[in-house]
Chain length 399, copies 2
DNA sequence: AAGACTATGTTGCGTCTTGCAACAAATATA
DNA sequence: TATATTTGTTGCAAGACGCAACATAGTCTT
């Protein structure tokens, strides 16, 4: 109700400005008070007061004189004292419940990964309660007591359709339906803390765009290609969920020339499809995706033909998507993304063949950082939340 | 630079809260001070001060006691004094430069249409300078001096790819390329004022979603179906432009089963395509779209067959789009939209046939208000701007 | 019909935050 | 060495909001 853009009491202003300062420090890493003042559009004196307040709460600190030397201003005038976030001041957990694994990530206030663990998990055979219990247990298992006290929330990423409140409508890969996932997680926590749940592709998108060097403007389509193909859209730095959290689910696009009715993109791009096709041409007893990649790299004709079909379908899907969301950047994730670097030229060729020339061609990249995945993104969701207006600190003060 | 979420001086706070109050009054029409305070999350006393300030500027007023009676609170306690925007306090102009017409709209501070005029225009044969001169001339022609003094900006809608600053990259239907449209308009104005330019489909989307009863949450895909087919996306109340302002351009989707390479949706759904097909089956000397509609209504087989193909293509396009942006509502505009009510059942049938059952089906409506179009939307862009933080009032104070 | 009840609008006061200007500090440059 | 430039700090003033109390104007109860 109060979210109509109005601004409350002086205390609220300070609260917001402190959060804006922390967001700036997260984006830029290190800033002097004067730089911060310019970025925030505030006076230097106000900036100083805000930093003093945050330092009093142990959230930021002046960097040591030793490290300070690193920064070379080439600058006249008194050099500024650099300020940075105190990484240990907070912890955020992220969990991905996948079909075969549960991944757990812990990040700090600087949104850097502190710990990351992967456990095997039989997603298809486990019920929700078991999955939640195991996931939460693994997340908190190795967490030091000091970190637990600082833990400001946990995020859960699941291959599911879910609403903003973490209610799962349906998760075909896990066999879930109408499950209040966030509530179940909340009930399983050792300590009360904020809980957010999100579709795994959306979580990946958040994680991949949360870093400090990521561009804040423009539209990036993030794809996760595993057995299935999911997608998430980041527009001007924030997630575009769509009306039901399904935005970017490019895997269910129809691909022409694949029978009647047409097959979906997921059925053409996914790991299953590639391996099925690869089995018919590979002499190996147990064809693997790694073997397929090697064959493509070695220009084995059968594998190359499969990859060529994959490239054409990918190009088609990306172009259809770009006609609708007008992305200027596409980031490919998931294990199948490793095929892209080998086929980049073919994909671009097809894009230019399909697309009308007046339309811009998006930049396409394959994600090369293993640790950036849905679990990391789920943790980033809480990191982001902490640094935005809905922060628990704000709510506490309001009481 | 200062747009990092930071909040400045007390004066800035008041400024923002006054704008938030005006937005609330625009959305809800009439509010008492106490209601406003609840909506804005402020104290009643602050609300009173804000209203006093706005009333002093002549932007809001208490509604007359006569009209007041209309509202039936069924409410214990002292009834509130209703406040409303003063419509005459500001004027905003909107111009649509189309292929065949120039449309001019004037709206007031309540975003209601004060005047609307349509002029024939030979878009294909006119150069940019002529078009701009004529459009601006028509916009200001009938404007009373008192209104001119209150005019807070002009918006221009054009069938073109353009960036946020109103630079046209290409406008195939008008033969324009690399034209600084907003700058040209600015130079042609009789009085300096803010100028915004936008793609016509995006402008339509803004106009159709700007009314007070429009839902602020959810995602709506707006289609404009004329000779071409354009689209604009409104997500949670604001326009989703994409990286280059091309988001929602559903007309360039590829439609399977229409030859090799596939034809675009625009080539299948547009007026041209329908009329071309209709000519081959109609005995009329000069087949018109109105005649086509009548034939469809009368179940003339040839026309029905054409409409059936149209319905199938529309269903395909909408479903592809929904897989990517996850819209929960689709609003069809442009003259071809009149075909939809006749074919709604067929379109829904095809949607349910194509789409996997686990996905939600969006609500589809045809726009029935003639006056809501790109020109109105262009005016709404400035109305919205006036009621948001970039308002010129703010800038003036900052000087 | 009269009083109780309830919600609204107003007013004075206190708290808080920001901006401004001046000053001390620290470094580059002439 | 002296100057210029930028930074961080410190009083001071202005402004905005919240709070509490009060007058007001309806509805509801007895």
């Amino acid at each position: 109700m109060s979210e109509a853009g109005a601004i409350g009491a002086p205390r609220g202003i300070r609260q917001r400005n402190e959060l804006a300062a922390m967001r700036a420090l997260h984006r830029f890493g290190r800033l002097s008070r004067a730089e911060l003042a310019r970025i925030l559009g505030l006076n230097r004196s106000s900036s100083g007061h805000i930093i003093a307040g945050l330092a009093g709460d142990g959230l930021v600190r002046e960097v040591g004189a030793v490290e300070q030397a690193r920064t070379s201003p080439a600058h006249a005038g008194r050099p500024g004292i650099m300020i940075e976030l105190v990484p240990e001041a907070a912890a955020f957990l992220g969990v991905e419940i996948g079909v075969e694994h549960i991944t757990v990530v812990e990040i700090d206030l600087a949104s850097r990964i502190v710990a990351r663990k992967v456990f095997p998990f039989a997603g298809r055979e486990s019920d929700v309660e078991t999955a939640v219990r195991q996931a939460v247990g693994m997340a908190f298992d190795g967490l030091a007591p000091a970190r637990l006290a600082r833990c400001e929330g946990i995020g859960v990423a699941v291959p599911a359709q879910m609403d903003r409140r973490g209610f799962v409508r349906i998760a075909p890969l896990l066999g879930w339906e109408n499950v209040p996932l966030a509530d179940l997680v909340r009930a399983a926590l050792p300590v009360p803390m904020p809980v957010l749940a999100e579709n795994d592709a959306n979580a990946f998108a958040i994680g991949a765009s949360h870093g400090r060097s990521e561009p804040q403007s423009g539209v990036t389509l993030h794809l996760v290609m595993e057995s299935g193909v999911g997608g998430g859209i980041i527009a001007d730095g924030s997630l575009f969920r769509g009306a039901h959290g399904l935005a970017g689910e490019i895997g269910h696009l129809r691909v022409p020339g694949t029978g009647e009715p047409e097959r979906t993109l997921e059925e053409v791009l996914g790991l299953e499809c590639i391996l099925t096709a690869y089995r018919t041409v590979s002499p190996a007893a147990e064809p693997s995706f790694a073997g397929f990649l090697a064959d493509v790299r070695d220009r084995v004709p059968g594998a190359v033909a499969i990859a060529e079909g994959w490239a054409r379908a990918l190009a088609f899907g990306l172009i259809q998507a770009c006609r609708i969301i007008d992305a200027d950047r596409i980031l490919l994730g998931g294990s199948v993304a490793a095929l892209y670097p080998l086929m980049a030229a073919r994909v671009l060729h097809h894009i230019q063949a399909i697309q009308e020339p007046s339309f811009p061609v998006p930049a396409i990249e394959a994600n090369d950082d293993e640790t950036v995945g849905p679990a990391f993104g789920a943790a980033c969701m809480l990191h982001r939340r902490y640094l935005s207006a809905e922060s628990p600190r704000l709510a506490d003060d309001a009481v």
